[in-house]
């Protein structure tokens, strides 16, 4: 596992995306009817979850859908997993178009090639882990000895063998997540879709889960199988992971940033960060007069500084010489303005494009009850 991780780590830094796309979206829009006041009669307000989204996800890579809650990540994954339909636009998954005219048989053939991990683990708590995995195997047409072997093999590799006989309700959050990942991988999918899979996990369990995911994505799928479609070359599994956490997105080869249903950035993480230059100055939590003073100092030094919607002053240094940057830093220090200077993060990129902040890393783990409330909302 450690070797796999090291190999994968060397690759992640910056990979080009010449591979054929596993997912292709063109002008995809999804609107939901509003609930509550104003939703009845002529005053109906629609909520646009996806607004003319176009993107391409390369086959065999790990791609992150990064955005805050409500940015359209889950809606996009629901459409890709055939649970929902786009109102307009083109959706192509593994070489197959998905739309209102897609036949049941066509969709079922596509589903046989997909693995999906939802925000809440899709395991029946009243059943044992083994029963859940065997049920999943049956849903994918695997039965008898083949199903048993798959279940035991997956359990061994995800280190849940000794818990196969336990009811899911008795497992810890981390173990449930591992069992859920085993469920999604049981049929060896070409495309794995994960919707914020680390919600509710403590830091250690989250790290273990992400390491397992990286190990899965860094090995080659069954070579030589004739399946058709973009990812039928026996290459690596394509993984599309939605998250609102920068550090999770950072571990992927490509990042697609979503904000209010629109794609605001789409590139390798390193290239996205480099788009802001070598350094970024952030003025955060300063008094109003300090903020104005900071903007004046930075502008005078030739650094383009803008106050973002979140209140943070962000100053990328992409077109500034070292001398001017040094001068700006000295003047900010003399003026007593609280500021930070450092290499750009994906959060800086997100802020530069949207004006809003993104969570840097994991917040307090969400309790299952809180998660359920949020999902109902």
């Amino acid at each position: 596992m450690a070797v796999l991780r090291a190999e994968q780590g060397a690759r992640v830094a910056e990979e080009t995306t010449d591979a054929a796309p596993a997912i292709r979206l063109e002008g995809v829009t999804r609107t939901y009817a509003a609930k509550g006041k104003g939703a009845k009669g002529g005053g109906a307000r629609a909520r646009v979850a996806l607004d003319s989204v176009s993107l391409s996800v390369p086959a065999g890579q790990r791609t992150a859908l990064l955005g805050p809650n409500g940015s359209g990540k889950s809606t996009l994954l629901r459409i890709l997993s055939t649970l929902d339909r786009a109102d307009s636009g083109t959706v192509e998954v593994l070489g197959q178009m998905i739309g209102a005219r897609s036949g049941d048989r066509e969709l079922r053939r596509l589903r046989a090639r997909l693995g999906v991990v939802f925000q809440a683990p899709a395991l029946d708590k009243l059943l044992t882990v083994r029963e859940n995995l065997l049920a999943q195997a049956a849903l994918f047409g695997l039965s008898g000895r083949a199903a048993t072997e798959r279940v035991e093999g997956a359990a061994a590799r995800l280190v849940i063998t000794d818990r196969l006989g336990d009811r899911v309700a008795t497992l810890s959050g981390g173990l449930v997540r591992r069992a859920d990942l085993a469920r999604a991988l049981l049929h060896d999918p070409e495309l794995l879709l994960l919707d914020e899979p680390t919600i509710g996990l403590d830091p250690r369990a989250r790290e273990e889960f992400l390491e397992t995911l990286e190990a899965v994505s860094s090995v080659t799928r069954g070579a030589g199988e004739q399946r058709g479609g973009a990812a039928a070359d026996g290459g690596r599994m394509t993984i599309l992971l939605s998250t609102h956490l920068m550090d999770e997105a950072q571990r992927c080869q490509r990042v697609v940033m979503l904000h209010e249903g629109r794609v605001v950035a789409d590139d390798a993480p390193a290239r996205l960060r480099r788009s802001l230059g070598g350094w970024v100055i952030r003025v955060q939590g300063a008094a109003e007069h300090s903020v104005s003073r900071a903007i004046a100092i930075l502008t005078e030094a030739g650094v383009q500084a803008e106050r973002q919607a979140s209140g943070v002053v962000l100053a990328p240094t992409s077109s500034v010489s070292g001398e001017r940057l040094e001068s700006a830093v000295v003047n900010l220090t003399r003026a007593g303005v609280p500021f930070e200077i450092g290499p750009p993060t994906l959060g800086d990129v997100f802020m530069a494009r949207t004006g809003e902040e993104l969570a840097a890393t994991m917040e307090e783990p969400e309790t299952p009850r809180a998660l359920q409330r949020r999902r109902k909302r």
């Binding site: 629901r78 055939t82 649970l83 929902d84 339909r85 049941d104 048989r105 079922r108 053939r109 589903r111 046989a112 090639r113 997909l114 999906v116 939802f118 925000q119 809440a120 683990p121 899709a122 395991l123 029946d124 708590k125 009243l126 059943l127 029963e131 065997l134 049920a135 999943q136 049956a138 849903l139 994918f140 047409g141 695997l142 039965s143 083949a146 199903a147 072997e149 798959r150 035991e152 093999g153 997956a154 590799r157 469920r183 991988l185 049929h187 060896d188 999918p189 190990a215 899965v216 090995v219 080659t220 799928r221 069954g222 070579a223 199988e225 026996g234 599994m237 359920q372 999902r375 109902k376």
Partner: protein
């Protein structure tokens, strides 16, 4: 073995969009296992009708045969036998519908919907589970029926079980179709009180169709649950408020609609849990 097989330690066996037989069997097994592991469901589904039966039969014991004035010779307790059997089926169907909403909230339903398993396997497994469980429970009612003076015959029991099967298929299908449209268990309680319980109350479970006022008789005759319930009443008690061909044809229609309706409704995208 490929690298991913080595990683997962498994022998390859291609996943496929098969006919759904294996999916149906496992989903049915899951429903039955879940039922067995939820003792409260077993107690509620069987205990409530038994309690209502006992209370009503005892309460109306001195009232000249009870509402409707039927079941010559036997008491009101005998008249209630088919109604209580229907109630057992109704409760089991309601629990199955609620379990669909719970499956959606828990995420299990989504995992079924993103698999290649056909929708009929999902609908069929829920309906089959309701039918098996409710028929087993209804047998308890039938075993107790002679205590109230009902003279059961083998043919009557066989036809009664056939009528109960049509009721369980129809009610569970209707419940699943309604549950698909509803966001929450609380919301489904509203549907239950507005649709399912009135259907049962007006099916002849408490009072006979032929003894009701004209307008109520018209309403009861249009209630689809009345048709198989009258067929059941005829099978067990030898009397019916509807012409027999109509009752049995209605029973078949009710079951057929119960199978088709959820299949049609579930073609729509599932609501977000």
């Amino acid at each position: 073995m490929s690298d991913v097989d080595a990683l997962l330690g498994m022998r390859r066996g291609p996943a496929r969009a098969g006919g759904g037989g294996a999916s149906f069997r496992w989903l049915l097994r899951r429903e039955l296992v879940r039922f067995g592991r939820q003792r409260s469901r077993v107690i509620a589904a069987l205990g409530t009708p038994l309690m209502i039966w006992l209370v009503l039969a005892s309460g109306f014991a001195g009232s000249g045969g009870g509402p409707g004035g039927v079941t010559d010779g036997a008491g009101y307790g005998a008249y209630l036998v088919p109604g209580m059997a229907v109630m057992v089926v109704l409760f089991t169907s309601i629990f199955a519908a609620i379990s669909l909403i719970e499956d959606r909230h828990a995420g299990f339903l989504q995992s079924v919907l993103v698999s290649p398993a056909p929708r009929w396997a999902l609908v069929g497994s829920k309906v089959a589970a309701v039918s098996l469980v409710s028929l087993a429970q209804a047998v308890v009612i039938l075993v107790a029926a002679p205590l109230t003076g009902v003279a059961l015959t083998p043919m009557g029991v066989a036809l009664g079980l056939a009528a109960l099967l049509s009721i369980s298929v129809g009610l569970s299908g209707l419940g699943l179709a309604l549950a698909w449209q509803v966001d929450s268990v609380q919301g489904f309680h509203g549907v239950m009180n507005l649709v399912l319980m009135p259907m049962w109350l007006l099916s002849g479970a408490f009072f006979a169709l032929e003894g009701a006022s004209t307008w109520l008789r018209a309403v009861m005759s249009l209630n689809p649950l009345t048709w198989p319930s009258e067929a059941l009443r005829w099978a067990l008690l030898g009397e019916s408020g509807l012409p027999l061909p109509l009752a049995w044809a209605g029973a078949g229609t009710f079951a057929a609609v119960g199978m088709v309706l959820p299949m049609v409704v579930m073609q729509r995208p599932v609501r977000q849990g």
